[in-house]
């Protein structure tokens, strides 16, 4: 059942007289309980997409058009873009939660962690301080903080990066959200911790029956977690498919390039690392036509002139490319 539908989302930024189309007509669907991965290089627009969903886009950014349909239950659907900030406040942290890339800076340095987690309940469930605190402590235990009772009264600086991310997860999940947006949750963490956090995310998602929008640039993470994958490049979705399908049969040349870049353990050691030629174009310098045309190994003349549409070539598999 569809939970969140993003239709033709356009979020532009206006900096120094220039219009930067960070998110340029993105379509995305997340179903209840599923893990959708949104991958792309830095600057592809993935974070902006997630922030747009949360309604956290500030000047100089502006959501130009599109719809974000949130099907909170069978009866009610809201277009989040039509909602006032106040109304969104009721949804954020409550039905849709988010965790962020850098756990070190994501927590308020001068407030106790227990209080920061409990705050969610105070806002959304109108709980009293004491009770909220108790539930927060419980939550902390669930995410794996030992000695949660005592540690809830400490400041974030006493926790490691991985611990802090756990606290963030606690904060995000304590309200039983229907959707958790995880914006590069493991990028700033050690590889060993990464696995733990991902495990935790998956566990929480299953326990609370929450969908997860996982934003990342790491294909390994995608392989671990995702049910479905969207590939973003320069503000546009290039390909969307089931995770397994995508890995086996990447259709878009960009996706193919990404796959080839990953060094495999069984590769011949003498083989040079694969790269995608060229550089990601500057948002002010997007090529006319397909955004990937400047680097695509399979580029045709048509690609340079026209922008291809996102077409479903197989059920559940959409591609944006003139090859199809």
């Amino acid at each position: 059942m569809k939970l969140l539908e993003v239709k033709n989302l356009k979020t532009y930024f206006f900096i120094h007289d220039q219009e930067i189309p960070a998110v340029d007509g993105v379509d995305l669907t997340i179903n209840k309980g599923e893990v959708v991965a949104l991958i792309g290089e830095s600057g592809s627009g993935k974070s902006v997409t997630s922030m747009s969903i949360m309604g956290l886009i500030d000047s100089p950014g502006k959501i130009m058009e599109g719809e974000i349909l949130f099907h909170r239950n069978e009866l009610f659907t809201d277009n989040l873009l039509k909602k006032s900030d106040r109304e969104l406040q009721g949804i954020r942290g409550n039905e849709i939660s988010m965790i962020y890339q850098d756990p070190i800076t994501s927590l308020h340095p001068m407030l106790k962690v227990g209080d920061q987690v409990a705050e969610v309940l105070q806002i959304h469930k109108k709980m009293g301080k004491k009770q909220a605190k108790r539930e927060a402590v419980e939550m902390l235990k669930r995410v794996g903080i030992s000695d949660a009772e005592q540690r809830a009264d400490e400041l974030p600086e006493k926790f490691s990066g991985g611990m802090r991310q756990r606290i963030m997860i606690a904060m995000a999940m304590i309200s039983n959200p229907k959707l958790l947006i995880a914006d590069e949750p493991t990028t700033a963490l050690d590889v060993t911790i990464q696995a733990e956090i991902l495990d935790l995310l998956r566990k929480m998602g299953q326990e609370e029956d929450a969908a997860i929008l996982l934003i990342t640039h790491d294909l390994g993470v995608v392989a671990e977690m995702a049910d479905r994958v969207c590939v973003m490049y320069c503000g546009k979705i290039m390909e969307e498919a089931d995770a397994k399908e995508l890995f086996k049969h990447p259709k878009n040349p960009y996706t193919q390039g990404l796959m080839e870049c990953i060094p495999r353990i069984d590769d011949d050691r003498r083989k040079t690392l694969q790269i995608i030629e060229g550089y990601v174009p500057h948002p002010t310098d997007f090529p006319k036509g397909c955004r990937f045309s400047t680097r695509c190994p399979k580029v045709m003349d048509r690609c340079r002139e026209e922008l291809p549409e996102l077409i479903e070539i197989e059920p559940g598999h959409k591609v944006r490319c003139f090859l199809y």
């Binding site: 949360m54 956290l56 009721g90 954020r92 409550n94 800076t105 705050e119 806002i123």
Partner: protein
Amino acid sequence: MKTEFAVNLGKKIFYQAIVLVMILVIILIASGIPTDFNVYYEYGQYHWSMSLEEVRLNIFQHFQGFLSGEIFDVVIAGESIGTLFRSAFVLSLKVLFGGTVLAFLIGVPKGILDSRKRGKSGTFKLLQSYIPLSIPDVLTVGLVQFGAIYLYYNDITFFGLGPIHFLGDESWLSTIYPIISISILPAAYMSRITASTIEDLYTKQFIITARGKGCSFGQILRQHMMKNIVFEILSSSPTIMAVMFSSLIIIERLFYYQGLGYHLIFFFSSYSLTPEQASAAFAVFIMGLAFFYYMLFMGFKGMKTWILPKIKES
């Protein structure tokens, strides 16, 4: 650990005490110079009005008077300097305190308001915050007086209070106009600090987290930003205090409000006192002022360095 901390603290206090004493000594020397000491010009040549030896003697006597405490008993217009100082001090304190409180009450909300509208009208709002900082005290007082005179001559009262006479210091009512006048500049400072702190913090990641949690702006302000705002204001308290003290002198002068500032100028420029009385009184007052100021300054500094640990330890 504790002893090390205590030793460090001791060192710091000692250092500060030394600085304070140095400042007081300098002030004593400067105020010991007789007020009629000058160079004058006559018939094509310059002359000193008294020899350096006399000046030195005067300074020396000054020190004696101060250290022995005699200086406080010097009588001016029927009152000893000590009593005069006490009453003037209280008067000034009322205005300073009232002014600070009022400045806070005006400045912080204004700063919050300013920060909310940021970005929507570009730099236009900046104008608003800079212009109050450019108003010279004279103009502030002039405008306040303008209003005060209007109210007074039209017998307008507020809640049964007034009409308040616009000069002098008879009752506590007379503190109102000086308090209003003195609060404008600090309020402008505080509003700027508040606004810029809020703006600075707004883009910080943990504020985004808070917003992501569904906190309203008010909640963010109260729970997540207030401590920082107060901290920033405390950090700038030396500047704000300095501005207030200077303004105090001018405002007391213009309102004929006989606090410390008024008297300081009075001693220096009045013809009804002998030079000895004048310099004695001036010395006591300025020492008191410097001492008070320094204590306040240290107090704020200490508060700053202590406030942070306090949060952590509670």
